[in-house]
Amino acid sequence: MSSMVLDAGKILLIFAVFMQIPPLLIYLERKICAFIQDRIGPNRVGPFGILQPLADAIKLITKESITPKNVDVFLYTVAPLFVMVPAAISFAVVPVGADVKLWGHTLQLQIADFHVGILFFLAITSLSVYGLTFGAWASNNKYSLYGGIRSTAQMISYEVAMGLAVICVLMSSGTVYLREMVFAQSHTYFGFLPAWNVFHQPLAFVIFLIAAFAETNRLPFDLPEAESELVGGYHTEYSGMKFAMFFMGEYMAMISMSAIMVTLFFGGWTLPGVVDAHSTTVWNALLSVVVFGIKTGAFLIFFIWIRWTLPRLRYDQLMKLGWKVLIPLALMNLFFTAIWGLRDQIF
């Protein structure tokens, strides 16, 4: 019984913290953008403008939520949910910290340790394309529709490359459980180099990273919402809280993607010399959560940094990169990983 209470508490806590990050990220995004452009950024609301997200939230909540006349009201209303909910659910499989022993119960700091592990993540994140497409279709607006079509094409193309990159990792680590994958990366080579998958599968990491940018619709792959050509893309007609949900969904997807990249390629919450993977003390667990947070935060900042560096790709360039570069590279990587895995039988 009490273990159920603990589990529920854990889930609530992880979810609550997860929901607090997007506003923080929006603040960071604006601040980093401003700094890169030699500006100061928001600095009027609270010290260093730290309360700016709060002001934004109040503005968005009190804003009129307009539903245009010719929209499909049902799809128009559920579309933002289809973006936000998968992004939030996909975080469930990410292990955020070391096991911890509390009142005689061993608690895994991971909401769900499914048998399908990473495959669940891939399946759920690709659902968010429905949100974009529904929103675009229901808006009954040509710009939105273009955005929706583009998002579909883009997500399907990059999903393939991403899946192939993940398969390479699965082959070299031999498990789909994210939890076991983290444990497998907790030791070191030569006493100093952490045994992270990024050193086993550097090419898979690069492919995954590029595909992650495309999957989360971040620049340079933000064609579905390309402001300069499509007004606002799939969310042209949205306003108020519905728009805010699209917005939150984008940031949540970014967090989930960063978290999964850390887990797959950068050893998750482990850090040799700092976190002991097999200890169950509270202190160790806290430390592991902090390590996980720092690694994920680094990725998030990288996402933002890239956004303010690179120009948007043209549509044909996007397709070319996806089908003619990433997928062949991923297949090649897969092939060589397979050969390496079977080297004993072959040679």
Binding site: F35, I36, Q37, D38, R39, I40, W305, T309
Partner: protein, 159 residues
């Protein structure tokens, strides 16, 4: 010969944009740590001159009608500024100077400037023979109505 240069195949890292990507990333991170250009306007005003010469810098803002030692308006209603003004926004109603004004015959009964039409060019200031009208560095006025943007003599003397 000359277009041989165009056919040069660049190395793969340029063609694939990898060098450009790294350069871009380096550039943005450099700008991240640079001093910022932003001027926090209401608290700090922008002076394009270096600090030592900043006192020479004078932006052109609202006009002021100067007064002499006895508190009388300096203007002699010669209408030179009204003539010089390129946007015809000065409207002077001249009249004979009151009794006590020993040094002149005319003075402006009313002196109106339409701040909406004014382009703050400073021609009026240059035209004035007796330094009666000057442009101060007060920022452009803000009011709620068009009428409020027409400044009269009293208002201009207070500026």
């Amino acid at each position: 010969m000359s277009n041989q240069k165009l056919n040069v195949r660049e190395p793969w890292y340029i063609r694939w944009g990898i060098l450009g990507l790294l350069k871009g990333i380096a550039l943005t991170i450099k700008h991240f740590f640079r001093p910022k250009f932003t001027v926090q306007y209401p608290e700090v005003t922008h002076t394009p001159l270096p600090k030592e010469e900043a006192h020479q810098w004078k932006p052109r803002g609202q006009h002021r009608l100067n007064v002499d030692e006895q508190g009388r308006v300096k203007c002699v209603a010669c209408l030179l500024c009204q003539t010089a003004c390129p946007s015809h926004c000065i409207e002077i109603t001249p009249g004979p100077a009151p009794e006590g004004y020993g040094d002149r015959d005319k003075y402006p009964i009313e002196f109106k400037i339409d701040m909406l039409r004014c382009i703050y060019c400073g021609m009026c200031e240059e035209a004035c023979p007796c330094d009666a009208i000057v442009l101060t560095d007060k920022p452009y006025p803000v009011t709620y109505s068009r009428e409020g943007m027409i400044f009269n003599k009293e208002k201009l003397m207070q500026n």
